[in-house]
Subunit: 478 residues, 2 copies
Amino acid sequence: MDDDAGALPSKEDFSAWYNDILWRAEIMDVRYPVKGLYVWYAYGFAIRKYVYQRLRDLLDRDHQETLFPLLIPEQEFMKEAEHIKGFEDEVYWVTHGGKTPLDVKLALRPTSETAIYPMYALWIRSHADLPIKYYQIVNTFRYETKQTRPLIRLREITSFKEAHTVHATWEEANEQVEEAIRLYREFYDGLCIPILVSKRPDWDKFPGADFTIAVDAIMPNGKTLQIGTVHHLGDHFSRTFNITYEDKNGEQKLAQQTCYGISERSIAALISIHGDDKGLIFPPAVAALQAVIVPIMIGKRHEDVMAAAQQLTNDLTAKGFRVKLDTRDMRPGAKYYWWEIRGVPLRLELGPRDLDAGKVMAVKRTGGKDSICLATVTEDMTRILGEVTDALRARAEEHTKSRLCTINSLDSLNTSLDAGKVAVVHWCRQKECGDAIEAKTNASILGTNVRSQYVSEIDGTCIVCGKPGKATLVGRAY
Amino acid sequence: MDDDAGALPSKEDFSAWYNDILWRAEIMDVRYPVKGLYVWYAYGFAIRKYVYQRLRDLLDRDHQETLFPLLIPEQEFMKEAEHIKGFEDEVYWVTHGGKTPLDVKLALRPTSETAIYPMYALWIRSHADLPIKYYQIVNTFRYETKQTRPLIRLREITSFKEAHTVHATWEEANEQVEEAIRLYREFYDGLCIPILVSKRPDWDKFPGADFTIAVDAIMPNGKTLQIGTVHHLGDHFSRTFNITYEDKNGEQKLAQQTCYGISERSIAALISIHGDDKGLIFPPAVAALQAVIVPIMIGKRHEDVMAAAQQLTNDLTAKGFRVKLDTRDMRPGAKYYWWEIRGVPLRLELGPRDLDAGKVMAVKRTGGKDSICLATVTEDMTRILGEVTDALRARAEEHTKSRLCTINSLDSLNTSLDAGKVAVVHWCRQKECGDAIEAKTNASILGTNVRSQYVSEIDGTCIVCGKPGKATLVGRAY
């Protein structure tokens, strides 16, 4: 990394800050020679590992992990009409093996319904086989023609967690939709990321779904980022791929399906929402390092301090904390700067005076310091890391609340959106009124059926036609 | 799964056994509608998870995990001449995004040198940046025209662990080659898989390497399976991709590189070497389930037995064992059969009599049973699982030894190979003699510089020309 690259842009200038922090903190390298493809630095990959481990832990309660092929033959991919329409412009096609043209073109999965469901048709026979709840974490591909951005809009989505469930009835599938929303809430709560859950308008649902429930986060500039979706697929795909089961009465029935996904956008939100003007701040639960230990070497006490710092490192590691002793030959201030940029939530400074007092200075990346006893440090760590988590969660909630506003007229809607807000309006759910809102504001109707502690007035009059309407989120989306 | 599919073929008929066990034990489904692409069942994926976790644990000692893009632009892929020659016939090409032809064709990585090394050229500046030791676990692609086989010869290799290191000198890179061999030895020892390490002949080395050290296992039918390779790349790629560093004297030097890989063939070997006529047997270290608990319900003691079995399950789980209580409404014998096929190393049977005696019957998948005290079961588990591990390792070593033979004439070489042996011959290392051996036997020279406890006579006369030669492995390879 360049040490002479000047200061990190202020987070006020979010786009500049975001581009800069990704390489300064060694999350992603954007210099790979293909548009929309990026490289995970080792440090960024470690964050990914802990974030996805949490996701796996949640899913593994009652899902099973599997792995399906990347390449989908054209005839399978082209089976479900709505699905094709949704993806045909952005699918990458493999046409040659070596110098030989392939008999059947192969799609790089943009999502895996058409790879997985032909197998489900083979696997499912009876009601006793249901429900099925599988997931995989894979790379998927979209030929994006819009501006690409690391972690946000990619041509290779490197880290797509997609779950695909099969149920006997529409209602059971619907209950799974609710369960998935609960899982995603728990996941994002663990990352201290406040979410807005809503039902996407019909024109924005997943191609081939009955309906789509989306999870959005509000980014620092007020734009929303879709960081999860849950789709009720009904029998659209089971009809196409002939996924049937024999019910208790011996009749063949079409299965009902759901699917739900989360990508590395979760990490884009994590980075963006918690970072500050000094760099990143990771919640301890997913931090690659939860604490860095910086020995302060002054004068003759070098060996004493180093030995104590090493002991502290060993003790904390033995207790399961992810810590690193920074022994590099650099000034302490330069080390502080280095680890602040990289978002390590806690710094433990240990110098001769601390040592004499049997103490270590714990400096929280969210602000504040605390001189703690070396004798009880392993117990205190949990508390202090908990304080960092609480501070991050409180800030993120404050940010989200401050960005939301309730708007009653189309004119003020535009003003609010321009000011970086996400608006709650009331809408009658007629397409014409929806189009009017989007045209007037250059924004999107994110969704209805809003579920958020920040949104309370569910009923109201439509902001366009004045007829009875329901609370609806309107925002400028990534 | 079909319950009426008849008996598992005997392992004597290895090819039939292998194809059958993969679906019976729910490892891979071969019915995906593209040749050479297979689906990981959830049970198979769990095995993969534990196997690759071991690999990660070993590498994470001093490597870092990263992730590079799948798609490699044609101009980068085509830079290193030998490398292209080695792969040009088997690379899949993406030529279209949606309906639009791409300006630059994109290769699906067959291996990632040409994706990674342009980035290394950006990352490495000074001797202080070296060594670099990164790895990734990714899907890679080969347009195989030979017969494909699940886990062995694939068009999508789903689980390629590739490490790529950079060093200041050829000697340091060579020391890394030795370190990689040690790592792979430790990895395969953990899987109880005996390996043969040798140096591939020049005509069979990795395209663009100075030399290749290969790790082979002997499969049940006597064919060898390459389950790991370590390449000294010298400066072939650093020259092409301009990977240089400033040495201590301020001079620009070409970096020296290595790379080494392991794929899901490790799991093919694991399954094949340990399985028997009853099904799979997994070493406890990587078993998805280390023990299955089968309650034997006779008469009125149903609730007692079930409560004790649940308690046992909870106790073992709390101690970190991977166990499952099988409560299905099936005869115990049917459950035994089910878990034997799936290779669970230990079965714990608990019936009313065991309960009265405060005991549980531990039945080892490798043979033998042991009535152990419920009170001390968590301590006994470690011992008993260790016994299974020891039995598997001993059997596998016995198998490997029995398949190796030293051969002194070309005529008997063919006979031995036909009898399913891997031969140690002496060879002068001249290409003509090597060609003669391969032509005469329809086999391959696997390698020289053989490192195996089973091969002791290093020096001898060339089996073709009679000049001084070195021990050389000859086998029929997958």
